[in-house]
């Protein structure tokens, strides 16, 4: 019953080992995180934000944790073949929570830009990292933030200095690799200073047929007039559990778009929290979920409009088959002085079977009096009239269903701004619906 105990024991027993393999900037927050975890424990489903995912159950099994930083032998370039042709990216790998630094992309980054291991960054640029690390993902308000901060030793650091434009998309491939069931606590810190621009694509893959439990806390800072496109593509397997908390803080005139695409997974809970701190900032959140069997995908969003003249837009679509469970809880908070806010939220879901379940909870809280906001959600089945129309033209019912599902999900994929990635995802989604993407397509072992 007490899922917390093993993590508490682990921390108490291994504190010295954790610290010795980690940088002071990260170690500085551990004690407070531990106290916060002790106090909160895992959130039960009685906690509104965690209503749709059973966290204690997910954390109950005994997973190995690589606190001693043993080198896990892998050559990611052999394991992973890039799944997005015609997309020239600066390709990096994360193996579990560790940045793979043995091979670096041939094309140099723009002057001053940093892409490296968080561990390394915390040693080389301690002041820079300390300025941002743990500032948004506060441990007192979320037990998973606390747990991750207690245990995290490494992760990714991306820094784009003032005015620098990263022309090439950064592609970060997260590979889960282990010979035993493994827990991974990964940290991501992304900083775009004023007028900076970047596109970052995360691809989650599991390279071993093991149970994985990942907590990933990502903190993103977007300066004045900076632009960021963030893509997260999950193609793992049914034994993978992912808990991702993403925090974005946007300054004036900045623009962020976040696309989260879940093609294959076990259990996924993504919390995305965007704070619009500067006027005229715009944020766009898109989510596309395709789930079947007993897969579980839970998106929980908060857009916090703190100042006036900001725009936010959310579109999340789910296609659920078999006994899959989907959840979307999206909260828009328009604070008292956030006048002239424009905010839209739309969640549309297809339940293809009677057993598939969708929990939808669009939420809009407005404390300002001059705003334009909308929120809504639909859950439905495929349009029978459209199916018959297609059948009359000679398209089999099965193929017609495929075309309708593909079209339904396609609306979100169309929001991807990178042409090659968009085309590829249309292709992957089609393959996924045809059952040809049985696990993930990028890994050698899955082929």
């Amino acid at each position: 019953m007490n899922s917390e105990q093993q993590y508490i024991d682990l921390f108490r027993q291994c504190r010295t080992m954790i610290d010795s393999h980690s940088a002071p900037v990260l170690n500085a927050l551990r004690e407070q995180a531990f106290q916060d975890f002790l106090q909160q424990g895992f959130p039960t489903q009685k906690v509104e934000r965690y209503k749709y995912t059973d966290v204690p159950a997910a954390f109950a099994p005994d997973y190995g944790v690589n606190l001693n930083r043993l080198d896990i032998p892998v050559n990611p370039y052999e394991v992973f073949k890039c799944d997005v042709p015609n997309l020239s990216t600066s390709l990096y790998f994360m193996v579990n929570d560790a940045f793979y630094s043995k091979i670096q992309p041939a094309v140099a980054l723009p002057e001053g830009m940093i892409v490296c291991s968080l561990h390394e960054a915390a040693q080389q640029y301690p002041e820079l990292v300390a300025r941002y690390y743990g500032k948004q993902a506060r441990t007192g308000k979320d037990a998973l933030n606390a747990l991750n901060t207690m245990l995290a030793q490494d992760g990714l650091f991306v820094y784009v200095p003032r005015g620098v434009v990263a022309e090439r998309t950064l592609q970060i491939v997260n590979i889960l690799r282990s010979d035993v069931d493994l827990m991974v606590n990964r940290r991501v810190l992304i900083v775009l200073e004023d007028n900076a621009e970047a596109r970052i694509l995360f691809c989650d893959h599991a390279a071993d047929d093991r149970s994985f439990l990942t907590t990933q806390i990502a903190e993103v800072y977007v300066g004045n007039n900076a632009r960021l496109q963030l893509y997260e593509l999950e193609e793992t397997h049914v034994k993978n559990k992912r808990f991702g908390n993403l925090y974005v803080d946007q300054q004036a005139d900045s623009n962020v778009s976040l696309n989260t695409i879940t093609l294959h997974n076990g259990l996924t809970r993504n919390r995305s929290e965007v704070t619009l701190s500067g006027e005229r900032a715009e944020t766009n959140l898109y989510g596309c979920v395709i789930a079947d069997k007993q897969q579980h995908v839970d998106h929980n969003t908060l857009i916090d409009h703190r100042v006036s003249h900001c725009t936010s837009n959310q579109l999340y679509k789910y296609v659920l088959d078999d006994q899959a469970v989907g959840a979307f809880a999206g909260r828009i908070l328009v604070r008292e002085n956030a006048q002239h806010t424009v905010s839209n939220e739309r969640n549309a879901n297809l339940c293809a079977t009677k057993e598939a379940r969708m929990y939808a909870q669009p939420m809009l809280e407005i404390y300002a009096d001059d705003v334009k906001c909308s929120h809504g959600s639909t859950v439905g089945q495929l349009n029978e009239q459209a199916l018959f129309y297609m059948q009359q033209r000679g398209i089999s019912r099965e193929e017609a269903q495929m075309l309708l599902r593909f079209a339904f999900a396609g609306e979100v994929i169309d929001c991807i701004a990178i042409d090659a990635l968009r085309d590829r995802l249309h292709h992957l989604v089609e393959k996924r619906f045809r059952g040809e993407l049985s696990r993930c397509s990028g890994c050698k072992i899955c082929k």
Partner: protein, 251 residues
Amino acid sequence: MMLEIKDLHASINGKEILKGINLTVNPGEIHALMGQNGAGKSTLSNVLVGNPAYEVTSGSVTFNGKDLLAMKPEERAHEGLFLSFQQPVEIPGVSMVNFMRAAINAKRQYHGLEPMSAGDFLKMMREKRKIVELDSKLANRSVNEGFSGGEKKRNEIFQMAMLEPTLSILDETDSGLDVDALRIVAEGFNKLRTPETSALVITHYQRLLDYLKPDIVHVLLGGRIVKTGGPELALEIENKGFDWIKAELED
């Protein structure tokens, strides 16, 4: 004969609409089906193409010697049956190109042919589009989405041109069309006619029949065909309505 309907009874939601239809269509013939609202015209067309909302309770339909009622809707299409829908359905997110390619290739597969190459397919789209003066932009849009009423009906005839059916059912294809759209639709249909193709044209108005020149005109009343005649019957109905036919029946 191409189509033979014998004593067909059908119902929707338990209510019997067709109460014993008998109708024979030979290759090359155009039959007009007239009648007041609720007479069963659209029910007949829906039953023929296999709309699952309708239930056939008795009777038989053979199409080119095969049992039509035993076939799935898509098989009926492959065998050469086409319905121009009274209300064409909008399908957001499915482009006309993908829709038509799926339809054409499904038919080719049914007849043991290889899928059409992308080049040949697009060429065919271009040629057939001209028949109903359909804008190239419409062909790249989602099926019927954002089309005007006239565009939707032209799109039906465009699909007919692509699929080359042997028996087409036009279910009030003229309804709501302006003068030019009606001419384009009717002329488009006539361009597709061959001595082997037949049609069943459901309409309330003579104007479409002026263009299509039916060989035989039937009047449907209360789920039965109560009168059959030549083209002059349609003119008579245009002038006098249906009451005189009802009166005839009562005598």
